[in-house]
Structures are given as C-alpha cells and as structure tokens.
C-alpha cells in the first residue's frame, strides 16, 4: 500500500525492515488510529523508526512523500467508512453547526456532495471556496471557515498549526548528535574481558562443594564463591594531532564504545608522539599530566591501548627537541619504551590503512619498538588487538581464574 514510501525510507538509509512495515500495516488495519493525517504520521513513526537519530530523516521523507498527498493517504487507508465520518462529525461540529448542516440538506446530502467533489477534484487545493483542501470556505477540507464544512484530518483547534508536525522537524538536533553506531565496536571490545572473582560470595562453587563432601564423607558442606565480573583496566592514549583529523569519526566511535565497555578506563590525549606529558582534556589542551605520574599511578595489570597514525617525521620519535610544539628533553622513543616496559599488555591501533604502513618511517620505528603489536583501526584489527591484549595476560601467568 505504501511500498513506495517504504522504499524511500530505505533509500534515505533509515533502517526499516519488511517486518516493521508489516507491523505498521497491521496497526493501520486494526485501527490504532482514527483516520487523521497526524495520527497516521505518528503511527508510521512509532512503527518504522527505532532510533531518535532517524527521526529527522524520517520527517523529511514523510514530508516529501506525502506532500499534499494527505488526500490519498486517507483514501488508501480504505474506503472512508461512514462510521468514522459520522463519529468524527460529533467531534468536529458543535450543535449549532450540526443545525446548519441540516440547513444545507442534512448529513446525507453533505456526504454525497463530498464524494462527488472528491472524484471531480484532480489536485491539491488551498483557499478557494469549492474544492477539498485547506483554509478555504468550501465545506470540505481543513482549517476552513465554513461552519458546514467537513474537516479532513488535522485534529485540534483550527488555525492553530501553520505547519504540519512532520514539517516542523522537531528532531533535527538529534540527528546531528554523536550517537554513532558503536554496537559492533563494543562487541569487538567485549573480547577483552578479564573476569575475576571479587566481592560477596553469592554463587555455588560446585567443584569445591563436591571436593569437600568427598572429604567429609557424609556431611554436605556447601562452598560459595563470588560471581565472575569483568575487571579489566584500560589506559587509552589518543592522538589528536592534525594528521588524525580524517580519522576523528572512527576515534570517536572507539572512544564512546570504550567508555561504556570498560569500567576502569583512563583516557589521555597526546599530539603525534607521547612525551613527558599528556592531556586529560581533548579540546582545550587542559589537564596536563606528567607521563611519569601515569607510570607510577597505574600498575602493570592495566592494559594500554594507543590510538594514533604514528605518521610523523622520524625526528619526532628519535630526537631530543624533535617535538613539533615544544622542546622535549628526552626523545619520544624513550617515553614509548618506558610505557612498553611498564605495561606488558599494550597494543597500538593505527587508523592508516595497513598496506601503507611500510612507506612511513616513523610507523616502522614504532612497530619495531612495540614488537609488531600494531593493528589497523578496523573491526578485524580491533578484534585481533583485543585478543592479543588478553593473550599476553595469559602468557605472563598472572592472576587468572577461569
């Protein structure tokens, strides 16, 4: 029935599925709304849009598709059943007005004229005094001044709404909000979960119970243990130097996912390479923290994720005073080495395409330094990076209970 509309929604990259479309038709069929245009819009919206980001694109498609087509919408819902026209009349007219309708020849006559005119009409009409449309004195249409008129759609006091609800674009600000699709990134990050048992003992430890019962022979001795919880701790270093600008979106996605996924997450920002200080605030270069303080404060079971393109002049990595924006007493490589040594679990995520890494000297230097633990900032790369962060943990044989 509204297949074109459905396809246009798809075209506008609004994720609608056939299933939702069918639900929408079912809802129409079961008369969730009375046949008014506004209700139709609300119903389409609640059935087809599942995320506030898509409300604004939806409004636009809706406005485009149904521009002036309210008439056909109403007809398409089915032949206009007499009951709703009648019941609708009660709501639309006061007693006085009903009396005036009688004066015009009564309801039947009005309806006949309505249908006649509906068929004759070939386009949209606003103003004027005969055709069905808006704002006129014809008995048929919306927002008009004829007391004998039939209002089509558009509930509520007349002349109150100049613009259709879907034309107001109330959700414009929501679509530009950074609520990016990060679910798949979070799923990849899920691989980096380190479960430990801490806190209240609230779970039956079956193995231990069996062991104890075996030991005592008859007496049942129940052993409890705390539930496994994800206790992974992460230090995230993000490069926000100028060359990272093209990758901002992906980094934002990564950042917002990490924020949700890791309970213990510390985020620091740096410019091209890590030197003696990093920042806690991305935008204002505020909250300067000494790198040494970080090394001292967070112990070695923190996992380190560095995100950066590692593309810079080799001097910035290797030379004293090589930094582009300040004089560094020690070369970047010294600092990177310190971090590497303090944290055995470290990966570098590089948003540059992997094929291009070999053409950049600084990438080569850093890759070598961190023993090849550089992964591309793609879903796959993220997955392998998370796996490698876990594996290291195992090979070092630290607190690991499974």
């Amino acid at each position: 029935m509204f297949i074109d509309f459905f396809l246009q929604l798809k075209e506008a990259a609004i994720p609608v599925s056939v299933r939702e479309y069918l639900v929408f038709l079912e809802a129409l069929d079961r008369r969730v709304i009375e046949s008014d245009a506004e209700g139709f819009y609300y119903l389409a919206r609640t059935a087809l849009v599942k995320d506030e980001r898509f409300l604004d694109p939806f409004d636009q498609v809706f406005a485009h598709y149904f521009k002036g087509a309210e008439k056909s919408v109403l007809l398409n819902i089915g032949e206009i059943p007499e009951e709703w026209l009648k019941s609708g009349l009660d709501r639309m007219f006061t007693d006085d007005e009903m009396a005036e309708i009688e004066a015009m020849g009564g309801f039947e006559a009005l309806m006949e004229a309505f249908q006649q005119r509906w068929q004759d009409q070939d386009g949209e009409h606003h103003g004027g005094n005969k055709w069905i449309g808006t704002g006129g004195t014809s008995p048929f249409g919306s927002g008009g001044a004829n007391p004998e008129g039939i209002r089509i759609g558009n509930e509520g006091p007349r002349r109150r709404r100049a613009v259709k609800v879907w034309e107001q674009r109330n959700y414009k600000s929501l679509s530009s909000d950074v609520t990016l699709n990060t679910r798949n990134i979070k799923m990849a990050m899920k691989r980096l979960r380190v479960f430990t048992r801490e806190g209240a003992e609230d779970e039956l430890d079956l193995d231990e119970t069996i062991r104890r019962v075996g030991w005592t022979g008859i007496m049942l001795d129940i052993a409890m243990r705390p539930t496994r919880r994800n206790r992974v701790k992460v230090l995230l270093f993000l490069d926000i130097g100028g060359s990272m600008d093209p990758h901002v979106r992906r980094c934002e996605q990564l950042f917002s996912s990490a924020k949700n996924e890791f309970k213990h997450l510390e985020v620091f920002y740096f410019h091209n390479c890590i030197y003696e200080a990093v920042w806690q605030e991305a935008h204002r270069w505020e909250g300067k923290v000494k790198t040494f303080d970080i090394l001292h404060k967070y112990n070695s079971d923190y996992r380190v994720i560095i995100v950066g393109d590692a593309s810079m002049s080799p001097y910035e990595v290797l030379q004293v005073g090589g930094s582009v924006d300040h004089f560094n007493d020690e070369p970047g490589i010294t600092w990177l080495t310190r971090i590497k040594e303090a944290y055995p679990h470290l990966v570098w995520l590089n948003p540059e395409p992997e094929e291009q890494w070999k053409y950049t000297d600084s990438i080569q230097i850093i890759r070598q330094l961190i023993e090849g633990r550089m992964h591309p900032l793609t879903l796959d790369g993220l997955g392998t990076a998370m796996d490698s962060l876990r594996k290291k943990y195992k090979s070092h044989g630290m607190i690991l209970h499974h």
Partner: protein
C-alpha cells in the same frame, strides 16, 4: 483499551498513538528520552489509566536475562536435602520465578515495565528476543514451558547508555519523548499544582527555560526538576514579583539547588555569568 493520558500525566498525541499501537498489537514499546521526562512514570500511568496491575523489573548492570525468567536455587535444595526436608523431592520448590514469569502467569492483563534496559550487559536485550516476541520461555529444570495466557503490555525504557541491537528494535514500537514545549509544560505543571498563580508559573517557566539554554551543563534541568523547584517555591512562599526581578546574569534564582544538581553545573553557570558581565 485506549490510553489518553491521566489527570496526573499529560500524554502528547504522538505518545498516545505509540502506547495504543503497543496495546493493540501486543508488542513492546521502547521509550527513550532525556532523563526526567517521565519515561518510567509513563508505565505507571498507563497501568493506572487502564486500571491494570503493574510489574516492574529494574534492570541493573549486573542483571541477566535469566533473572527475569527464573532462577534455580540449588544451594537451598542442597541444604534442605541435608535436613531431610520433604520439599527436596520436588525440584519446582526451588525454582524462583522472575518478573517476566510473574507477568506471564498473572491472572489478568497487566503492564510489565522493564526499566533502564540499557544498564545491563550489551547482550541482555538479545537474550530476551524470543521471550518478548512469543511471550513464552522454557524451564529446563522442570521441562515446562511458561506461556503468557494474556500478553502483558510491555513498556521498556532506555537512557541510551548502550545501543540496543537491531533485532531487538525491530520487535518494538519506539517513542522518543521530546522535551516538552512551553505549552505542554504549562499543562504538566497544571496537573501537579492546579490553580498555581499565573504570574508565578510564567516567571518560573521563564527562568527554567533560560537555565536549559545554558551551554555546557552536565545535566540540563528537566520536567521532574521543574516540578520539584516549583514545590520548593510554593513551600517557601516566594512571590512571583520576586522571581520576576531575578536577573540571571547577576544572581542565581532562589532554591536553584533543585534545578542544578551538581557542583560543576553551578560553576558552569557562574562562569557564564562572569563572561556576560565582562562583555
């Protein structure tokens, strides 16, 4: 069964359509929106308006889908077995029904509120797909299927902390509660404080909407904050002409603690005032 708001709750028309679609088609309704716009309250009001009981399942970060269905208390059973309790023989004695079980097996129709579904693990909604779709689940321990005789009206709220999976979204109707405009806000205040002095309301709303304009607030004051604030204003008997004289560029309004909930926001506000004074 139609929901049209209650005398305590102003439901805009789009919200009514969404709720009624969920009621008629017996599918869950997912409600999102800024904090304090009455997402949770909606479920209670729907229950009240339709005169149905309500079951609330508050989801926490440690909640699992299984907890909503049922839990098998093996520990009690082991303990009882040691004491020779007769109950041990029936495993059913140790199955503890969860909120979904309660909702499915209730006598009549009811409202089931799954509150803050985004708080739980990212897999949580996926684990409930089938249960919400067919409104039934299988109990492995007793080999029985629990099926809803009358599908409950399911309302789900989310604060957008985590994104919900597409498969889950496809099964729900969706409504985003927009922040009320001034007209709706007046109606909302009116149901809470009928007969509130016109002037006081006007001045309070004026200050309130100015507060919301302030950039960089961590938590913008919302409907529930406004209601609380007006309550305080009334309790302290603050006259409307006093509010009218409040110049936000010089001072904070009385009882501002109800509107600004944390220190950073008070600072943000003061910084802004400082800037305004300078220019």
């Amino acid at each position: 069964m139609k929901f049209e708001g209650t005398d305590q709750y102003i439901a805009t028309k789009d919200l009514q359509v969404a709720v009624n679609a969920a009621i008629t088609l017996e599918r869950p309704l997912l409600v999102k929106g800024e904090p304090g716009t009455g997402k949770t309250m909606l479920a209670h009001e729907v229950a009240k308006a339709l005169d149905l009981p309500i079951i609330t399942w508050h989801v926490k970060s440690t909640s699992t889908a299984q907890q909503g269905l049922y839990e098998y208390d093996a520990v009690s059973r082991l303990r009882d077995s040691q004491l020779g309790d007769e109950r041990v023989k029936d495993l059913g004695n140790y199955i503890i029904p969860g909120k979904m079980w309660d909702a499915f097996t209730a006598d009549g129709k009811l409202v089931l509120l799954i509150d803050e579904i985004d708080k739980a693990d990212i897999e949580f909604p996926n684990d409930l797909l089938l249960e919400l779709d067919r409104m039934e689940f299988y109990v492995y321990e007793t080999k029985k299927t629990i099926k809803a005789e009358r599908r409950p009206i399911v309302l789900i709220t989310s604060n957008n902390e985590k994104e919900l999976p597409d498969a889950f979204l496809r099964r729900c109707f969706f409504h985003y509660i927009r922040f009320p405009d001034e007209e709706t806000m007046k109606q909302i205040v009116d149901v809470h404080y009928p007969g509130l002095h016109e002037e006081l309301l006007k001045e309070a709303l004026n200050i309130f909407f100015q507060f919301r304009e302030v950039q960089g607030l961590k938590k913008k004051p919302s409907t529930s904050e406004l209601i609380d604030w007006i309550k305080l204003l009334l309790a302290e008997n603050i006259p409307s002409d006093y509010l009218a004289k409040v110049d936000l560029s010089k001072e904070l309004p009385p009882m501002y603690g109800a509107l600004l909930k944390n220190e950073q926001d008070v600072h943000a506000f003061e910084r802004l005032r400082f800037m305004q004074r300078r220019f």
